[in-house]
């Protein structure tokens, strides 16, 4: 029953003249004066939300419409939110791309309680990329150091074989080798940064809410991270649904089944509240 007051979305496909209504029911107006075909969500077999289009298989027919046909991004986000809520209720087959924020089907409607922190922010590309790097470093840190040391040793070896290490030139060889290792580490860092930014851009393409204002809520009952245009003040994901979290200097990253589910930037909240928020998350989830 979370997000139960979302206004249905009407999508007009100017190419084929069809109008789709996604709401309490799924309705399709064909071009012409005929009455619409209306499906309840238990008649829907499958919904695929892709990067460019939404495809709905209902009854014996299949319908698809491009994201371009939505009046605005808010409508597109709301339509996906409605679909995810119905998916929770009716359990049809639901396929979607990778997300930056949790599916609406994970939310429950409940009172957030007294200690609740609400913030709003648009995800910053640099900060999110830094968070991705932090995650990569978290996994690759030892490997990166190993590569740098190896490059340093190889440089020393090459210099020794070609020039030969003597007492007079050893002081030159050490900084040269260290510089080689350092440059390699820097290159790796630059590449990971580029990869992280690429990851963020790819995620932004797959999750349209990533570049829109997001409401973040942290309370003892649960948390929320969803597009502000659909948030309804009492929708939360219970902490028990999540597994652990990682804290970077800019973000809290919440995990479920070893995959990041929500990126919560600290800058969304007032500075003085961040330590209290960290306490609530740490009390609710294991930190890694």
């Amino acid at each position: 029953m979370a997000f139960h007051d979302l206004k249905p979305v009407s999508v007009n496909d100017s190419k084929n003249g069809k109008t789709y209504i996604i709401g309490n029911v799924f309705a399709v107006y064909n071009a012409g004066p005929e009455p619409p075909v209306v499906y309840t969500w238990d008649m829907v077999k499958q919904v695929s939300v892709g990067r460019k289009e939404i495809k709905i298989d209902a009854g014996s027919a299949s319908y698809s419409f491009s994201n371009k046909h939505f009046r605005d991004v808010d409508d597109n986000i709301r339509a996906i939110a409605i679909i995810e809520c119905r998916y929770k209720e009716y359990g049809f087959n639901y396929q979607h791309e990778r997300r930056m924020f949790p599916l609406k089907s994970l939310y429950n409607e409940c009172s957030p309680g007294k200690e609740v922190y609400v913030g709003e922010a648009v995800l910053d590309e640099g900060e999110t990329a830094a968070a991705f790097i932090a995650l990569l470093n978290f996994k690759l840190m030892k490997f990166l150091w190993l590569v740098a040391i190896l490059i340093m040793l190889i440089t020393v070896g090459i210099l020794h074989l070609n020039i030969g290490i003597t007492r007079s030139n050893v002081l030159y060889f050490i900084p040269i080798s260290a510089a080689a290792g350092g440059i390699t580490a820097l290159l790796v860092y630059i590449i990971t940064h580029a990869v992280a930014r690429g990851m963020f851009k790819r995620l932004c393409e797959t999750d349209i809410s990533a570049r829109n204002p997001i409401t973040f809520v942290i309370s003892r009952s649960g948390f929320a991270a969803c597009a502000s245009c659909v948030y309804e003040s009492r929708d939360l994901i219970p902490w028990s649904e999540m597994d652990y979290f990682i804290e970077s200097d800019k973000m809290f990253i919440i995990y479920k089944n070893n995959s990041p589910v929500a990126y919560i930037p600290k800058k969304a909240f007032e500075k003085k509240t961040v330590s209290s928020i960290a306490d609530i998350i740490a009390l609710s989830l294991e930190q890694r």
Binding site: M1, H4, D5, K7, P8, S10, I21, G23, N24, V25, A27, P35, P36, V37, V38, Y39, T40, M43, A58, G59, S60, A61, N108, E109, C110, S111, E232, R234, P238
Partner: protein, 476 residues
């Protein structure tokens, strides 16, 4: 933005119905979701029926809002009398309807106070009870399961039904003898005694006419109400295809040779036994319904259909936070010395209850032959299940159906059941039902004989028999 209220009459077959659409409604009267209660936070859904900024009734929907489950309903403990403006609108509407205005016009101001959507309005007689024999006003002081409040009734299935029981929109301490004296007079003149808003299943909230309900029941005046129901529930109906055309008449002698071969083939095909045609299930749903009305999609006026499709069954009202803040508070004055007349309470007990009404909708008709089959212990008659494959349920339903539709046959049937020792499991239930027929000489004779006989087969009904006998004597 001012509310847009439009009305239209639709005709389906021989029946016509009044539809009223509300756009940009104030949402000052309606129901809204108010959270979860129970284990794990998802055991039951709580809804509130509100008027203005006041929560009026709390409706707990168990089993995670299962539509086949009865609801627990009670008057909201925080009740304070609602906005005078709304009160005036309700009062004016009932005056206008009784002054001869059409329902659509008379209810227009009330409709603008509702949530957006399409509604149907009609008039119907209501039993001023909770559906279990208690007078409705005062029957909802504590949350309890109210029989007949499930949205979907397993017995009735997808058939339409008219809700006929009431939930008050005021606590009982608002009852005053002075006001009743006024309504005693006015109820004799009025045709429409109250205005109700459908809440759930067989139950509607009485918006206006509480004192009138007391007067009507006391003076045996039918409690006729103007009913408002929201049309928003999708429904599906399967259709049987039209019967194949009748076989062509055999050509007269001599004409055979001149017959067109194509026609001959068609005639031959028509003459063959019709192949088994599968039941036609249309793509998508058939239409939207309220309890009493089914409207196929093609019959909806275009704008109204758009309003249904782009609307929601329930909205989050603007005053939601205020309602939630009030829901668990309590008020100071909750008791009064004004009590309902005893005759009203006794008469409420005699009115049809939920089980009778449900049976009347569930069973189309019961012939004497079918009743005899049931008394003989069969659930089938001529190869068809009479009511249900469950024998005892069949007896109980038949009893309720007859009590609602044909008192004479009911008396004969109950006596026949109670005389049959093999049906002893149902004796208690049937005897209790028979208590409502205090004017029946046959039942009096039967109960008197049963008590006098001392037979062990009547052990279960002795208490009811004695009660019947004493009450029968009191009435004579």
């Amino acid at each position: 933005m001012a509310a847009e209220v439009r009305s239209e009459v639709i005709t389906h077959g021989e029946k016509s119905a009044q539809l009223i659409s509300v756009k940009h409604g104030e949402a000052a009267i309606g129901t809204c979701f108010a959270g979860y209660t129970g284990i794990g936070g998802t055991g039951a859904v709580t809804r509130i029926f509100f008027i203005g900024g006041e929560p009026i009734s709390v409706v707990i929907c168990p089993n995670n809002d299962n539509k086949q489950s009865n609801k627990l309903i009670s008057i909201a403990p925080a009740f304070k009398n609602y906005d005078q403006k709304i009160y005036n609108v309700l009062g004016n509407s009932i005056k206008r309807i009784n002054a001869g205005e059409s329902l659509a016009n008379g209810l227009r101001d009330i409709m603008s106070l509702l949530e957006d959507g399409v509604y149907t309005v009609y008039t119907a007689d209501y039993y001023p009870t909770d559906g279990a024999g208690s007078f409705f006003w005062g029957a909802y002081n504590i949350p309890h399961e109210v029989q007949g409040t499930a949205e979907k009734n397993r017995f009735i299935g997808t058939k339409s039904f008219k809700p006929c029981f009431l939930v008050p929109s005021q606590p009982l301490d608002y009852f005053t003898k002075k006001q009743k004296a006024v309504s005693d007079e006015s109820s004799k003149r009025r045709e429409i005694q109250g205005i109700v808003y459908h809440l759930s299943g067989f139950h509607s909230v009485l918006l206006k006419g509480h004192h009138g309900a007391v007067s009507c029941l006391e003076n045996d005046i039918p409690f006729r109400c103007a009913v408002i129901e929201k049309v928003c529930e999708p429904y599906v109906e399967t259709f049987l295809p039209p019967p194949p055309p009748a076989p062509a008449a055999e050509p007269a002698e001599g004409e055979g040779d001149n017959t067109d071969p194509a026609q001959a083939v068609q005639a031959a095909q028509a003459a063959q036994p019709a192949p088994e045609v599968p039941v036609f299930v249309p793509e998508g749903i058939t239409g939207f319904r309220s309890p009493s009305l089914k409207v196929p999609i093609e019959l909806f006026p275009k704008e109204m259909l758009k309003l249904v499709l782009e609307g929601r069954p329930e909205y989050k009202p603007r005053q939601f936070d205020a309602l939630m803040a009030k829901i668990n508070t309590s008020r100071k004055k909750t008791v009064s010395n004004n009590i309902l007349p005893l005759s009203v309470l006794e008469k409420a007990d005699q009115l049809p209850d939920y089980e009778m009404v449900e049976s009347a909708y569930a069973v189309n008709s019961l012939s004497d032959e079918q009743l005899n089959c049931l008394l003989a212990g069969d659930v089938e008659c001529k190869g068809e299940v009479i009511i249900s494959p469950n024998f005892y349920q069949s007896i109980v339903t038949a009893c309720n159906f007859l009590q609602f539709t044909d008192t004479k046959r009911f008396v004969d049937f109950t006596i026949a059941v109670m005389e049959n020792p093999e049906l002893s499991a149902t004796h208690e239930y049937v005897a209790k039902r028979a208590l409502t027929q205090l004017s029946s000489k046959k039942l009096y004779k039967f109960f008197t004989d049963a008590v006098a006989s001392g037979d062990t087969q009547y052990e279960k009904i002795l208490t009811f028999a004695n009660t019947f006998i004493s009450r029968y004597k009191e009435t004579k």
